[in-house]
Every structure is written in C-alpha cells, then in structure tokens.
C-alpha cells in the first residue's frame, strides 16, 4: 500500500493590517495539528497599513522544502488580492473571494502598484475586458479554478448578530471567514479549524468567540454551497509536540540557549524581530538548570541603540568584559557597522553579527529578500580584515550556525558574520524536538583566562595566531584598534607591524583547520551527476526540491552548498567542481557574487547562472525551469521571476 502524499499550497492575501497575519498563523496551525509539515512565509510592502500583503503556505505529508506555485487555494477577500494573484493559481484550485468586490476595477484600487495596474489592463484588454474582480474570476474559472463567492457582508452581519458583541477586530474576523471557507473546501474538518483558532486566540476570550463564530458561519455557507467535502486525511506527524518558528525566532532561540548575554541592535527590517524575540525572553525562568550556580533566572541585556554604529560598538564593549555578545542587522545597518568590524579584527574582539539580507542597493526594497550582501560581508571593514562568514540554508542550519558562530567568535577572537535573509526571517516552519537539539553543540569559549596573569600580553604572538584572552577587570592592558605590540601598546615598529598582520592572517589557517569539512560545504545528490549547482544560503531547500523534480524528469544534478564563505573552502570546492561538466550558480543577486568567489579561490568559472532578481523568494519551479533552459540551450544566464 503506498502512502498517500498530500501537498497543499495556499495564498491568503489582503491589505497590511487586514488580518492576513492571524489567518496565516491559523492556517499553519491547522495543518500542523492535522499532522503535516508546514512552511509559510509573509510577503509584504514596506508600509504600515493598507498596501497588499500575503501569506503563502505549503503543507505536506513529506517535507515541504520550499514554497510552491501555483497554489491550490487562494483566499482573496479584497479585490487587490484576486487581481494580484490571478496568475498564481493552479487548475482545480479553490478561490475564495467576496461577492461584494465583484465590480471593483484595478484602476480604482488606490494602494495597488501602478505597474501592476498597467500589466493587468494589458492582460485583460487582450480578452476584451476590464481588469475587474468579476473578470478575474471568470478567467480563473476558465482556467479550471473552483470559485467560492462569499457574501462577506451578510456573513459578517450574521456573526455580529449571533455573538451579540461588537466586532472589535473586523479585518481579522473577515479573514478567518475566508480562510475557514477555503480550508473546509480543501477537506479540513471544522473541529481542526476551531482548535487552531483557539491556539491562536485562546487566552483572549473576547477575540476568540467572534472568530469561532465567523469560522463556523463560513464553513456552514461553504457546506451549503459545495456540499460535504471528502475529509483531508490526517498526516503522518500526529501525536507529538511540534514547534512553529520563523527564522528570526529560531536564531533568537539559538542565541539564548547558546549563552548570549548581551544583544544591542538598531531597528531595521528584517532583523528586528530577532531582537524582539530575545527581548521578550530576556528574563528567562530556567528552573533548576543553573541551580548549582545559584541562578533560577537568566538575564540578557538587550538594548536598542541610537544607530547601528552604537549597536555593534556596545556589543564589542560587552564582549571585552567577557560577555557573549551579538548584534543583528540588515544591509544598510551593516554598512554603518563596517568601521567597527575593522576594529574587531584589529583589536581581536569576538563578535557575532547576524546579517539578514534584504533587497538592495541602498534602501532598495526593505521588506523583500535577496542575496546581495555576500561580498559586502566578506569584504566588510577596511584594511586586511579576515573574518568568518557563514550562510545558513534553512531554519535548522540557522539554529546550529547561530550557536557555532558565537563559539567561533570567542575561539578565534574574530568577527563572525552569520548570513541570513528576509526569506528565512519571515518564513515559518514546523520543527521537532530533535531538529533543534543544542546538546549536539558544546559551548567553546577558546583561550579564556580569568584572574590576574603575570606579564599579561593581550596580543601574544602564538603559532595558531590566537592569544589568551582575559576579560577586562583582572589585569592592566590595552585593547587596541591601532597597530600594537604584544601588550597592546600602540606601535608603528615595522617588525611589530608585520608580526601582527601575520598573526591575524594565521588565524585564518587555524580556522580553516578547526572547522570540520562537512560544516564548510555540502554536496547534495549524486556525486557523479554531470551538472553541479552551486549556491549558498536560503536557496538550499528550493534547490533540493527542484532536484527531486528534475530527477523525476530524468535530469541528474547535484548541488554544492557552500556554508562557510570565509575562509573559503577552496580545496573542497575545487574537488567537487573538478568532476562537473556543467556548473550552474544559483544566486539572488545580479553580479554573481558566489561565482566571483569561486573563480577567485579555485580558478573554476561558473559557466551558467540562474539569478532571481525580483526580490521574491526562490521557488523550486524557478530552479527547474532554469536548469532545463541551461541544459537545452546552453545559455549563460537565466533570470527567473516567479512570485507576486
């Protein structure tokens, strides 16, 4: 008997602040409760309220590695959502919309982007029609979608009359109706919807009651309209405790369990939610874990500073006292941190910078994803500034990398830049207890000396380039951003200078030797495949998912995921690329930053690139399309562009 594979994708659209977030969270919970693995991301404009946003979810009995397009259901309660996602919908999918929005025309939708309006005008004029919700629904029906017209106003009136309470949160109630209708049409039983809504609002009865009523009324309406649905079978992951976390949260968790005691930050999307989660948990009840040392609460100093310069500066100050310290930022903030990164190298101060990349240059698109800061991270800081740059491919990697980054920073007394991005930041996944097991990582603080040391030399010349590090407060010494002698005293002496430069560079060799090969780069798939994809960061799961699809179609590829980008794992990468007939780079940047690094370090040129430049997440269909195009036509560059 073969196991039935269930794989469902949903987009829930709506204006920012219009209840999409709650609906998305509830959808994630529904499918998790049903026993499925989930992945879900939020896509939104850099706007406080009103502009279009959406939550994109995929639930699967297997591991949903990446988001999937087209989707099996579109919950589009407002006109802009119907029109924006008209091309994101699969045949046979369920589209839920408000019957009251039917006459709305794209041209009258104030928040909609001008360019999108023009594209819609053109698309519909080719059909001799206006871009209205009604016409979009007609088109969707022609393409095989099943549409469900919710009479939103009447249903909401019913909720209001039934619960007898004023609807404080109208948008939320409306979205829960839309979502519940879609879920029911997909075969989710009503009790699961109730359970998920309770999990979301359980502690707030005033919000809970109208939302449960809204869900029921929408389900009843759908039942009348569609009749009884075939129930969705339970997935394989039932009967245990699971966690639903975003990338921001999983990194925050890793820092907390990994011993962070100080995080300073300046608000910047998409990094702030990491700092906020640490702040929420900065005074943590830990029971008797630390009883031997007389602690039942763990405190973490989290501080919002006046700018990113101060954010990294304070973290460096804290690190000098022996605290495990980090900061978190995105491209623009990282630009401001550059001078301090250079100081951290010269003065040999441990520091972790979580760098959540977003679409640049400059302010670019603050709320959208990209991989444009790889070279910025590697070459940050003036002068020769060796450092560690590690890029995580998914949530699980991000968790372990965040802990290891803190170890490496202290062990090698060097800045560690943990490369992440907006896609990981705002993507939720379901995890199990064994996915995030911190006991697999030890805490390693390197050559740390507490207490007075006779004739202490902070910058003692050693074979491995790493000197014993004493926190401030035990000896007298100089921590120096200027070139110095072994004691830290400023020195422009040519011998001192050369010795110190070489000492700092020797650390790079030490780092390369200390980090296990498997943590530096990973070859996924058949080692003998003729096509090798090379990539880094959050493209990992979309590529793995695409490989499965390509394999089904008879196309054999393997995938070299470069995890540690600095120091670059030259030999490892060279070895893999030596056997490849075709090398295909996959990157969300236009300048081929990883290709550049590979060429510079190994001499191999990446002959083909698949680039994602529209600031939307990379989808597996992008990779499948790109690889096939390259194999068929031999073209050098394929720009892929799915996503709304």
């Amino acid at each position: 008997m073969t196991r039935l594979t269930i794989d469902l994708s949903i987009i829930i659209g709506g204006p920012q602040g219009g209840g999409v977030e709650s609906a998305g969270q509830i959808a994630l919970k529904v499918f998790t409760l049903k026993g499925y693995n989930i992945i879900g991301t939020r896509e939104y404009h850099s706007n406080i309220m009103g502009a279009h946003s959406y939550f994109h979810i995929r639930a699967s009995s297997d591991t949903p590695r990446a988001l999937r397009l087209p989707v099996d259901s579109l919950v589009a309660i407002d006109a802009e959502s119907v029109l924006t996602h008209v091309n994101d919908v699969a045949k046979g999918s369920i589209v839920v919309y408000d019957v009251g929005s039917i006459n709305q025309d794209a041209s009258t939708l104030a928040p909609m982007e001008h360019s999108l309006k023009k594209r819609l005008e053109k698309m519909f004029s080719e059909r001799g029609a206006r871009p209205t919700v009604g016409e979009a629904i007609k088109l969707l029906e022609e393409r095989g979608a099943r549409t469900l017209d919710l009479p939103l106003k009447e249903l909401l009136r019913k909720v209001s009359e039934e619960t007898g309470s004023p609807l404080a949160s109208i948008a939320r109630t409306v979205n829960i109706m839309g979502l519940s209708a879609a879920l029911y049409a997909l075969g989710v039983e009503f009790p699961y919807i109730v359970k998920a809504v309770e999990a979301q609002f359980g502690k707030r009865p005033k919000i809970l009651a109208p939302n449960i009523a809204a869900a029921r009324i929408a389900v009843e309406y759908t039942h009348e309209k569609y009749g009884a649905r075939n129930p969705l079978p339970d997935g394989p992951h039932k009967g245990r405790v699971r966690m639903i976390v975003t990338g921001n949260e999983v990194v925050a968790m890793a820092k907390i369990v990994g011993g962070l005691t100080f995080e300073s930050f300046y608000p910047i999307t998409p990094s702030s939610d990491e700092a906020h989660y640490i702040e929420e948990n900065k005074y943590l009840d830990v029971g008797d874990v630390f009883r031997d040392v007389g602690l039942d609460k763990l405190s973490i100093v989290t501080l919002q500073t006046e700018d990113e310069i101060a954010a990294i500066g304070m973290a460096l100050g804290a690190a000098l006292t022996g605290a495990r310290a980090s900061t978190t930022t995105s491209g623009p903030g990282f630009s401001l941190m550059n001078e301090f990164i250079s100081m951290a190298v010269e003065a040999e101060i441990p520091i972790v910078i979580s760098l959540w990349m977003r679409a640049g240059p400059s302010t670019g698109i603050a709320t959208r994803t990209g991989q444009q800061d790889l070279l910025h991270a590697i070459f940050s800081g003036h002068g020769d500034t060796p450092k560690i740059v590690v890029a995580s491919g998914d949530h699980v990697e991000a968790f372990y990398d965040a802990i290891k980054a803190m170890n490496w920073a202290e062990k090698f007394q060097i800045p560690v830049i943990h490369l992440l991005d907006k896609y990981l930041a705002s993507t939720s996944v379901s995890l199990d207890e064994w996915d995030v097991d911190p006991s697999l990582v030890e805490i390693d603080r390197g050559k740390r000396v507490y207490g007075p040391v006779k004739d202490y030399k902070r910058y003692e010349i050693t074979e491995d380039g790493v000197s014993p590090i004493a926190p401030l407060g035990f000896n007298t010494m100089i921590i120096n951003s200027l070139e110095h002698d072994e004691y830290g005293f400023v020195s422009e002496d040519p011998i001192d200078r050369e010795a110190m430069v070489l000492k700092r560079v020797r650390k790079v060799e030490t780092i390369s030797k200390s980090i296990p090969e498997t943590e530096k780069a990973l070859l996924h798939g058949d080692p003998d495949a003729k096509v090798t994809i090379v990539s880094f960061g959050s493209t990992k799961q979309a590529i793995l998912s695409a490989m499965e699809e390509l394999y089904r179609e008879g196309v054999k590829v393997n995938f070299l995921q470069v995890r540690v980008l600095s120091p670059f794992p030259r030999d490892l990468v060279s070895k893999v690329l030596a056997g490849a007939e075709k090398i295909v780079g996959v990157e969300a940047n236009a300048t081929g930053q990883l290709s550049f690094l590979i060429r510079a370090h190994t001499g191999y040129s990446v002959g083909h690139v698949i680039q994602k430049l529209n600031a939307r997440p990379l989808y597996d269909i992008d990779v499948v399309y790109g690889v096939k195009r390259i194999i068929e036509s031999g073209v050098e560059r394929v720009v892929v562009n799915s996503g709304s």
């Binding site: 919970k29 998790t32 409760l33 026993g35 039932k238 009967g239 405790v241 699971r242 966690m243 639903i244 976390v245 369990v257 990994g258 962070l260 005691t261 100080f262 948990n281 830990v286 630390f290 031997d292 040392v293 602690l295 405190s299 100093v301 501080l303 006046e306 101060a310 500066g313 304070m314 460096l316 100050g317 804290a318 000098l320 006292t321 022996g322 605290a323 310290a325 001078e339 301090f340 100081m343 003065a347 802990i403 207890e433 911190p438 006991s439 990582v441 030890e442 805490i443 390693d444 007075p452 926190p471 401030l472 407060g473 035990f474 007298t476 010494m477 100089i478 921590i479 005293f489 400023v490």
Partner: protein, 310 residues
C-alpha cells in the same frame, strides 16, 4: 594602603606637544584616581581618536583605544556588561561632539554610570588644526585659510538637553581645581560630563592661555551660595533657570565648576536591575552560560509559546 598618582602612570612616552593642555588634564585624572583609590585592574579608560584619546596609554588600567567618535558606545557596552568596573571616556571636542555627537546625546538619555572628559581645545590637533565643533563662528585660527563659517555647539547645554546628570566645566591648567571636578564626576552615579577648556598652543592661536585666563572664573567663588545639586523635582524648577543662565554665559566671562548635578534619576544599571532582578549580581560579563561546556537549555523546554501539540 592608599594609592599615589604615580601608581597610575605608565611607562609610555607621552607624545603631546609642549605646552599642551592635555598634560594638565592627565595630571588631574592621576590625582583624582589616587584620591579615590581606584584599583587599576578595575579601571577602564576608553578613548576615541585624537590627541586626547591617547590618554589610554598614559593611565594604568584596562584601557581601550577605539575608533574615531565611538568611545561612548564601547564604554557603554563595557559598563552595562560589567557594572563593577569604573569606566571613563577621554576624547576631544571633535571626537565626542562632532563625529560622535549622536552617541554623546544618547548616553545622556541612558544615564549609564560613566564619566566623560571632553578635552576641549576647539580644534582637530592630530589632523593639523581644522575647526572643531566648539570653535566660535568667525574665529580664525592659524590653520584655517578663512574664518570659521560654522557656529559652535555649547557642550553644557547639549549635555543638559540630553539628560546628563552631572555637568561641569574645568580648565586644563588649573590642575587642582580640575582634579576636584574629575573626582566628583567619577564619584557621581550616572552619566557625567566635564567639558575641559584647554589651549592648543600648536594650532589654536585664538583661544590661548591668555585668552582663557582673562575670562574664566569659578561659580562657587563668585557666588558662595552656588548649589547645583538637584534633589527633587521642586529643586529642578527652582534651580534650572539660574543653571541655564550660567551655562549660556559666554564671551567675556566663562564660568567654571559644577553647573548641574541631578540626584533624582536612576542609572541605567539600576533600571536594568529593576527590570531583571539579579542583573547586578550576575551581569552579562559574569553570568554562567553553560554547565561544564554543555548547553542545558532546550528550546522546546523554554519557548513554549511556539509549541503545538498535534
């Protein structure tokens, strides 16, 4: 056994120009530290970049020579991570009020227990005498091709507006009086600033020793009833107008001394202790993070808000 000023002197060659006001300031700091009997292993002097920031080499401590304008963030991180350390910042007017002006303002809001000593000579000495942020409008020093067309900032008023709880002004060549101000600033619980006027004989031929000494006078000498200490909100209402009047006094007469000391505000360390009782006992520098190298916390045990039972 009390310490002597020599206990704080290092073996480093002091590389300032002859006649530089920095010597006076350095001697005042030595004296203050000795009288306060501060253990050098518990002392942290943080400098930015500039002539004055080099003080970190001349005072025995756990000192940090940072980058231009950024001494305050480093010092703040140090103090918040280990409040037991005595943390002072030495920097010039350009470092602390020019490039580092944003951090200077932010420290006042936080009231972290740090003492800031502004070596205020109104010029950028190390880079050949460009105009500093405290150089008066239209002043022309010998390094300037034309008179200064940018106005000057008033460090005392800036500190007052920012929320510093100790604000004083001293004069570099009055080593004894300055020692008193340095001592009071270090002793003060909260963010303290001493703006120290000093001639730069090499580059500032306008604000010379003679120029200063014609103008300066001490607040408490002119008015023996001068009382800058704020002990209650009422005090603030009564005393603020006179304090501000004295802070505004410039030109022919320049007052020196303690202008303002506010005892009514919590330090940030106290605020953190209130928010997280136990912080002072195990601050970030001292809090255990592992049990024999092992991580003993599991996310599923502590972040229960993210869990769901299926």
């Amino acid at each position: 056994m009390a310490r002597r000023w020599l206990d704080y002197k290092t073996g480093a060659w002091v590389q300032w120009c002859p006649g530089c006001g920095d010597f006076g300031i350095l001697n005042s700091i030595y004296g203050a530290l000795a009288e306060l009997d501060i253990d050098p292993t518990n002392l942290v002097v943080v400098g930015g970049i500039g002539c004055s920031s080099r003080s970190v080499y001349y005072i025995k401590g756990n000192n940090v020579h940072t980058i231009h304008g950024r001494a305050i963030p480093i010092a703040s991180g140090i103090k918040l991570a280990n409040p037991e350390l005595t943390v002072i910042v030495t920097g010039g007017d350009g470092d602390l009020l020019g490039i580092g002006g944003g951090h200077f303002t932010a420290l006042g809001r936080r009231n972290i227990d740090i003492a800031i000593f502004i070596y205020d000579n109104a010029v950028y000495g190390l880079t050949k005498g460009q105009a500093g942020p405290t150089l008066p409008l239209w002043a022309r020093t010998k390094a300037l091709a034309y008179p200064n067309i940018q106005g000057s900032v008033n460090p005392l008023l800036l500190a007052f507006a920012a929320g510093y709880t100790f604000i004083a002004r001293g004069y570099a060549y009055h080593v004894n009086q300055l020692k008193g101000l340095v001592k009071a600033a270090i002793q003060h619980k909260g963010s303290a600033v001493v703006d120290i006027l000093q001639p730069c004989p090499t580059y500032n031929d306008f604000m010379t020793q003679e120029w200063y000494e014609k103008r300066i006078y001490y607040l408490n000498e002119e008015d023996p009833t001068w009382d800058p200490v704020i002990r209650s909100p009422e005090d603030m209402k009564v005393k603020a107008p006179r304090i501000l009047e004295k802070m505004l006094e410039t030109g022919d007469r320049i007052p020196l001394g303690i202008f303002f000391q506010d005892l009514t505000k919590d330090t940030m360390e106290e605020r953190l202790e209130k928010a997280m009782p136990g912080y002072l006992r195990t601050p970030p520098a001292k809090r255990p993070i592992d049990v024999k190298g092992r991580i003993t916390l599991h996310p599923f045990k502590i972040f229960k808000d993210k869990l769901l039972e299926t």
